[in-house]
């Protein structure tokens, strides 16, 4: 007896059910995709572009790390090898280098959009706070990455940056000592900058992006402000456990 050909639609549905039953991902994705958002426009795309560029930086960075040699004698040689000889190495390095500049530009634009929309206001204070930590850490990525090329310009700019940093009171000298990892700029410094640039700072940024996006999805994005806030509703009575409870039924059930 011939076995009937499986219906592709049935197979797809079964596969989805298989995954959904074990992970709940299908529901999660459906909820995320079809959630209602207020009117959004081109200005709301900057955050997702930042996510894309961050992923691009992480990817090109990992690929560069396969060839890059973080030592005073090897760093410059490996950069030249990547740029001049490795197949498409120039593209890899170029995308990482210009992706960094793009990231900084997008950060400023995204911050500007959020600022003028008043999107950092109640209840999105923590979204802004995580964003500004990401911003500061991204600038530190620029600083630590610059030295890794180990050419004249990178070297002396980093010497001055670390010296200047050392002038800050209280923490300054400690941070400078930590960055230098020795009496002068040398093998230890390059290892330290490298570890910061490819492990510690991006790890922290990644974790902060997760929290940032969690808040963005939880709270929803902010549309262009065009309406005054409604007047307070005097008839509402706070419930026993407020303000720690969820919103009163009348509102939450809207």
């Amino acid at each position: 007896m011939p076995i009937p050909a499986p219906d592709p639609k049935q197979v797809a549905l079964q596969a989805e059910d298989w995954i959904e039953y074990r992970t709940g991902f299908a529901t999660l994705i459906r909820k995320f995709m079809f959630r209602k958002v207020p009117p959004t426009g081109w200005m709301h795309t900057l955050g997702s572009s930042l996510l894309t560029v961050f992923i691009l930086q992480a990817t090109t960075g990992m690929l560069l790390a396969m060839t890059y040699d973080p030592s005073p004698n090897g760093a410059y040689q490996s950069i030249r090898y990547i740029t001049d000889e490795q197949t498409l190495g120039w593209l890899l390095r170029g995308m990482h280098k210009w992706g960094a500049s793009m990231m900084v530009i997008l950060l400023f634009l995204h911050m500007g959009r959020v600022f003028f929309y008043g999107a950092y206001k109640y209840p999105r204070e923590l979204t802004w706070l995580t964003g500004s930590l990401i911003f500061i850490l991204t600038m530190m990525m620029g600083l630590t990455g610059y030295l890794l090329v180990w050419d004249e310009r990178a070297y002396w700019a980093s010497v001055v940056a670390v010296n200047i940093n050392g002038t800050a009171p209280v923490l300054g000298p400690f941070i400078s000592k930590f960055l230098l990892a020795g009496p002068v700029f040398g093998a230890q410094t390059i290892s330290r900058f490298y570890a910061l640039h490819m492990l510690m700072i991006p790890g922290a940024i990644g974790a902060l992006i997760f929290v940032h996006l969690w808040l963005v999805v939880k709270l929803g994005v902010t549309p262009w402000p065009s309406r005054p806030l409604p007047e307070p509703e005097p008839q509402l009575q706070p419930q026993a456990s407020a303000p720690h409870s969820r919103m009163p039924e009348t509102v939450a059930g809207e």
């Binding site: 958002v37 170029g94 610059y146 902010t222």
Partner: protein
């Protein structure tokens, strides 16, 4: 804040936000369409810049010992040589505003402004901004201070970045002044070799900061060669001016020869070398 106020605040916010959602749409496909278009464009721009950078610049080779600058700068410069500072220290473009602040605030006392007051305070302000600006109405017409800050901070940053990007005229050869006797001193060649003019002004050129003006010698030390020697060798670095410790990369004799030239610029005549 009383529970009643908290509830009221939430109700007002939720009511307004629910009304905006009513006018909105599902994330997919509406918002996602915009996201996809802009993300693709951004990635294309990054690839485009990488291609332009590589296609217009050239490698270091026998004919071009210092590399070939393209439209978007060089692929790399010479390998770093900790013993010789041949170029002026230039940061990435997004740190130029800080670099320019260093040029504006030069003396060690003022430097605190450039290094601490400005960056640290601005960083703290950035982080806590939502807790300072607590007004609830988001409309620009109700946020005059917000709008003023939102427009002036970027304007200042852009102005500082442009000013910081204007490259100083770094000296070459040994003609650091109009006085041939001073130029003939061995210290003049060392001044050029060590790249002092990347940060300091000399009679025939150099940078208007971050270092102080040396075109009529040192305001701080005058003809005190011993003081100059210590300063250049390590005191400047130890006291956190941002100037490198040149004693690490020059012999005591070379430091003395450099100090002799700085002292001579003060009187515009050759001062005797002091060891």
């Amino acid at each position: 804040m009383s529970a009643r106020k908290v509830i009221n605040r939430r109700v007002r916010y939720e009511t307004e936000y629910a009304a905006s959602k009513q006018e909105g749409h599902p994330f997919f496909p509406y918002a996602m369409f915009h996201d996809t278009v802009v993300n693709l464009l951004i990635v294309l721009m990054i690839v485009g810049m990488a291609v332009l950078w590589h296609a217009t610049a050239g490698p270091i080779n026998a004919a071009h010992p210092n590399g070939q600058n393209g439209w978007l700068g060089a692929l790399y410069e010479q390998k770093a040589n900790p013993a010789v500072q041949a170029t002026e220290p230039r940061p990435e473009w997004y740190f130029l505003f800080l670099f320019e602040l260093l040029r504006i605030f030069k003396t060690p006392a003022e430097l605190i402004l450039a290094t601490i007051i400005i960056p640290t305070i601005w960083m703290v302000l950035l982080i806590v901004w939502p807790f300072l600006d607590r007004g609830r109405d988001r409309r620009l017409s109700r946020r005059p201070w917000g709008v003023a800050i939102g427009l002036s901070v970027p304007a200042v940053l852009i102005a500082l970045t442009i000013a910081g990007s204007i490259a100083p005229g770094v000296l070459a050869g040994t003609a650091i002044s109009a006085n041939p006797q001073i130029n003939a001193l061995p210290g003049s060649a060392l001044i050029v070799k060590n790249g002092c003019s990347g940060c300091h002004q000399f009679p025939s050129g150099g940078a208007n900061g971050p270092g102080g003006d040396l075109s009529t010698g040192s305001a701080k030390f005058g003809t005190d060669q011993k003081g100059l020697q210590d300063w250049i060798s390590h005191v400047a670095a130890d006291s956190g001016t941002g100037m490198p410790a040149f004693g690490k990369t020059n012999s005591p004799e070379q430091i003395a020869e450099i100090a002799q030239v700085i002292a001579s610029l003060k009187t515009n005549s050759v001062e005797p070398l002091q060891k």
